[in-house]
């Protein structure tokens, strides 16, 4: 599973993205977010406040209950501020 991080999430995690293989129990975006917190202290801090984050699955916005597949591209980021 390909993960991408944007804006302040990049510097908090210390990565712009990563390739991960979560366990089968990770079935949704919310599951993935909880599992990511266990990967390192930086992950734990970066993903602590899920309310401040948004997600996209395969380049479409997705909620916490969105189902995941092993080959999905999943992005996490703060609310957008373009325009």
């Amino acid at each position: 599973m390909k993960l991408l991080y944007f804006a302040w999430l990049q510097s908090r995690v210390g990565l712009t993205g990563e390739e991960v293989s979560p366990p089968a129990s990770v079935a949704t975006v919310g599951d993935l977010l909880d599992w990511l917190k266990t990967r390192s202290d930086r992950h734990a801090a970066a993903f602590a406040d899920a309310d401040r984050l948004r997600a996209a699955v395969n380049q479409e916005f997705a909620g916490l209950d969105h189902p995941l597949r092993a080959d999905d591209e999943v992005a996490f980021f703060p609310p957008v501020t373009g325009g």
Binding site: L4, F6, A7, W8, A56, Q59, E60, F61, A75, F77, P78, P79, V80, T81, G82, G83
Partner: protein
């Protein structure tokens, strides 16, 4: 394709001329140009999500075209480091009548502000900081629901 995501500068006047081309039957062209304000920041870096950005902007254009009878739509959004006074975004709409042109142009900006995956990093005297999303932008976008 009427959607462009680019680092390079562009000439808004040229885009306006394309929208006002004599042979397209348009009676009304509404446009919006967003610029880097220079009063308190030294520079602004726009990060985006390549791939998703183009998809979202195209989806926003499609949504506008399904709501109003539009002859032409141009959306240009820049990324990278921009200095005060530089253009960030251009949205222009050509239609037969002004009500549709104004409404669609404002709709496109409101949806772009809340749905296009861009993030602004401002460089100020205090150092760089990521711009926080504004609830006001959400409120404006929800007017169209």
């Amino acid at each position: 394709m009427a959607v462009r995501v680019q680092a390079e500068d562009f000439d808004p006047g040229r885009e306006l001329a394309l929208l006002a081309a004599a042979d397209n039957g348009a009676g009304a062209v509404a446009s919006f140009l967003g610029l880097v304000r220079g009063d308190d920041i030294q520079a602004m870096t726009l990060q985006h999500y390549p791939g998703m950005t183009e998809r979202q902007l195209q989806a926003i254009e499609d949504q506008a075209r399904s709501r109003w009878p539009l002859i032409d739509v141009i959306i240009i959004h820049r990324f990278g480091r921009l200095l005060p006074g530089e253009t960030i975004v251009f949205v222009g709409v050509a239609s037969r009548h002004r009500a549709a042109a104004f409404a669609a142009c404002e709709f496109l900006m409101d949806w772009l502000k809340t749905r296009a995956p861009f993030w602004k990093l401002e460089e100020t005297a205090d150092g760089p900081h990521w711009v926080e999303a504004k609830g006001d932008d959400d409120d404006r976008a929800e007017r169209w629901d």
